[in-house]
Symmetry: C2
Subunit: 194 residues, 2 copies
């Protein structure tokens, strides 16, 4: 089972639901977001863990991890979750948290990868699914897929093509994780898909 974390619209959560991934629960750091509505509509347990409700980030992340584990989540999938996870969280799911990033990492980490790719002038960007570590978009890569940048692309047209790849690649990666086909050794950050 996977636990999914969202912060907003949850279009990638919808892709996971549509792909019939077994989803234990959906958590959010914000109340009243569309992602929670999508989960409720699909009959999935939801939870809200606002930072303001806890003494600090670490306490919030501990409560979130407890809840996810209690719901039966073995793998955690970030689907547009916009908070960095603390060691208090990551240590509970060692090498079991995956995230989506709309660029071919290590190019264009951070909050504005589509704009950054257009400003740099690359001819190809893409989508990465990677393990989450304590850095920003620095964890070992599970799957990637390139997306061509066209002469006439703007941020909107490029984002549309990137998002459609995301909606395919994230469910595929989650499925591979659940099936035990994603192998990451101790001595290398190179992931093998078996």
């Amino acid at each position: 089972m996977i636990g999914v974390l969202v912060s907003g619209a949850g279009t990638n959560l919808q892709a996971l639901i549509d792909a019939r991934l077994p989803i234990a629960c959906v958590g959010s750091n914000k109340p009243d977001v569309m992602g929670l509505e999508r989960a409720a509509k699909a009959g999935i347990e939801t939870g809200v863990f606002e930072l303001d409700s806890y003494p600090d980030r670490s306490a919030r992340d501990t409560a979130l991890a407890d809840w996810l584990l209690g719901s039966g989540a073995e793998w955690i999938v970030l689907a547009g979750y916009m908070h960095v996870l603390t060691p208090a969280f990551l240590s509970r799911f060692p090498r079991r948290v995956i995230n989506l990033h709309p660029a071919l990492l290590p190019s264009f980490p951070g909050a504005h990868p589509i704009d950054d790719a257009l400003a740099y002038g690359v001819r190809w960007t893409g989508v990465s699914v990677h393990f989450v570590d304590e850095g920003v978009d620095t964890g070992p890569i599970i799957l990637q897929e390139p997306v061509e940048v066209r002469n006439d692309d703007n941020a909107e047209t490029l984002a549309e093509r990137i998002h459609s790849v995301e909606h395919r690649l994230l469910p595929e990666a989650a499925r591979l994780c659940l099936d035990g086909r994603v192998c990451l050794g101790e001595s290398s950050r190179r992931v093998m898909i078996t």
Copy 2:
């Protein structure tokens, strides 16, 4: 006409020759390299510009630029040329020097892009042809092509597939430059192919 600079085997020079690009001359910073032999065999004028023969790098680059201009070269193509070009050179060919890099820039700049890509664990790397500026592999990108990294790739097998893309992409980019189809505005580093 293009002028080509080499430092070694010149396999990418050979790709330019085989693609029947109009080559004015081939310069090298080293004597007795295979690249010079390939040029001679194709009946192309050659020149050697060793750093040791000049008071400094800037003087060498000025002599090299004079020679290239005198040979009728309008565009300069680096085909495995391993010295950084000084402003003394680049100012003579403004936005007219292109280079090949075996990675999808801005990922993995520098001297070991194929090893670096394997060590990072990307699932896709590739080839970039870019304008040369005073940085290391930082200039505006003209063409790119992704190359998939396979589970069982080592540096040798990956390099082989990357080199075969290089041998196609560099002649294609040189042709686009000569045909005036590569447009780089003053206000953006985004190159348009027309």
